[in-house]
Symmetry: C3
Subunit: 261 residues, 3 copies
Amino acid sequence: MNIDTIINALHAVREQKPLVVNITNYVVMNNTANALLAIGASPIMAHSREEMAEMMSFSGALVINIGTLDSLWIPRMMVAVEQANNHNKVVVLDPVGCGASKLRTQTSRQIADAANKLIIRGNASEIIALAGEQGTSKGVDSTDSSEAAVGAAQYLAKTYQCNVVVSGETDFIITADRQIKLNNGHVMMPYVTGMGCTLSALTGAFAAVGEETGLAAAAVLGVAGEIAAEQSKGPGSLQLNLLDALYLLDEETLIQRLKMS
Amino acid sequence: MNIDTIINALHAVREQKPLVVNITNYVVMNNTANALLAIGASPIMAHSREEMAEMMSFSGALVINIGTLDSLWIPRMMVAVEQANNHNKVVVLDPVGCGASKLRTQTSRQIADAANKLIIRGNASEIIALAGEQGTSKGVDSTDSSEAAVGAAQYLAKTYQCNVVVSGETDFIITADRQIKLNNGHVMMPYVTGMGCTLSALTGAFAAVGEETGLAAAAVLGVAGEIAAEQSKGPGSLQLNLLDALYLLDEETLIQRLKMS
Amino acid sequence: MNIDTIINALHAVREQKPLVVNITNYVVMNNTANALLAIGASPIMAHSREEMAEMMSFSGALVINIGTLDSLWIPRMMVAVEQANNHNKVVVLDPVGCGASKLRTQTSRQIADAANKLIIRGNASEIIALAGEQGTSKGVDSTDSSEAAVGAAQYLAKTYQCNVVVSGETDFIITADRQIKLNNGHVMMPYVTGMGCTLSALTGAFAAVGEETGLAAAAVLGVAGEIAAEQSKGPGSLQLNLLDALYLLDEETLIQRLKMS
């Protein structure tokens, strides 16, 4: 898990153009589909129970994002996780708003419990809330720093035998035995809706080619995001420039800009 | 209710970063979330009945937009209004397409009836249709000028004890005892979908910090929209430049450009 | 069906500003609404059964796109098709992912069967899958070239007495007795989600003013897309520039760039 992991994964996504099934929220469906296309993957935005067995049979990963959760979509998500398990595919869980309502906390845990191969990607507050009492702290709003969620992430990694990405000003990649910090990104990024959702979608693309830690996605989005932000006068431009930057990102630039420790 | 109202409200949104719950249509969810972020607020796009009590307990306002209405979403909207009432929060109603179908007219009236603290934001045809026979005129399409809807808006303000924003080439802010005209904006704005929806979302952000007339939102969007349109060769650019303009808008520019009477 | 067909149809859309009802997928609702506005039409994104009779009574065409299909939306689509038939309006069917799941293949056929006046717009794989055994080949992924789907399109045109647009690097317009090829567009276009969906939406706009072959829409999108792509460094820019290009497209440029045979 080093810089070669990232470079090789980016190369593999562009070569293999993996299909990624996304059950995500209404707000970001367009952005995340476009981000997957821009990096070279092939998004499938589908949620029907009737077709999920077929969809997972020929796709490389499943991304579940609970951003606009309701009681109709929960059973669809559970069927999708079951089919991902049946086909031995990674599930990326984005527990949007975990802690802000019981529904979100419970559903996040239900999905995390059900998935056999799991990556969790959340902001600090979501990761802390998902970990519950066992986390190092509790909270529902995004004022928690990602550092504050490292203990919670380690707890989740152990409990669910999964990898965890805590995104924020600093991103943490937490596996059973490793912890990596990334310091890319830009202060303008939180002014665009769905940046975290985009990271989760990209995590699915890289998982589909075998990079199952979330590291490559966080590195690529962090670097592309800071390139895009430097070219943007506001968040409208940033949303657009990010897709261009993902599309244009080359290995040299990625290596040069990467702040990993 | 003058220029200081607007300036203070803008300052307050950027300071307080109020949470605004939006039950809105699928078409504009991304745009309105981004507009709220760009102006400094914090959007929550949630609609589940199970979590609405929690969401309204820590949020500052509720925006209900019926743009892609169906029978599943109506009860969700009604639960949200009930919870907004329970927590003494303003409800902003955007009666999209009111008059174009009985379902939309009836649902708009049902929501307006239910909300304790209400702001209605619509185009002329919607406002006239919502007022029904008691309005000064009737109509369903957007060819009505906003002037033609002033009587209907006054009727609504009285009937529902609410404030009303009629948006169009001229925007009218109608309260129980005042009427303010705004002449900002740009002819290219109707070529971008969801400009009215964005105005309703921003109205929610300002209501959450105590500006409950809709004036600040209409002023800010009108000025930011005309700045953005001047920089745009078409509606694609405008959609992007608007978010940048909202993000960059400073008090001096706002005061200088404002056409209020 | 020649260049005058296209020019006259573009003129008519901008003159008449036809209302087009869209029951489409969550991913592209914003894009397709904006593309319809940019070309001069007026989008209605509505799906409720309760209002479909009213909506179709004053609209010019219906676009049905199954991109994020589920069991709740199928009956809504069928009611909409029934109402389009009642009002003698064209139905444009976009069978997104037809062949990727039984649900999509069956639903596509059910809609094609039900519509009295029909245009089908799909990529090669979707058209081949929709035609089933009777097509010249079979397939579910988008690696089929549009040439390979011409036989399937002719079969569909005959079976459903409809017109068919097969979009791809080359677009084919297939009617009962004609076949037209268009070679506009740009290799960057598939990196933006929903380009095909946008073509289907525009097909609805042109059908609403009497151009019921899909030719004008394919020509306009192909030319506007290549203009936009030439100005874009990546797919983010392209999505935006496309809307500007549709808005700005003039007859001279269209004639000059058109590669029709």
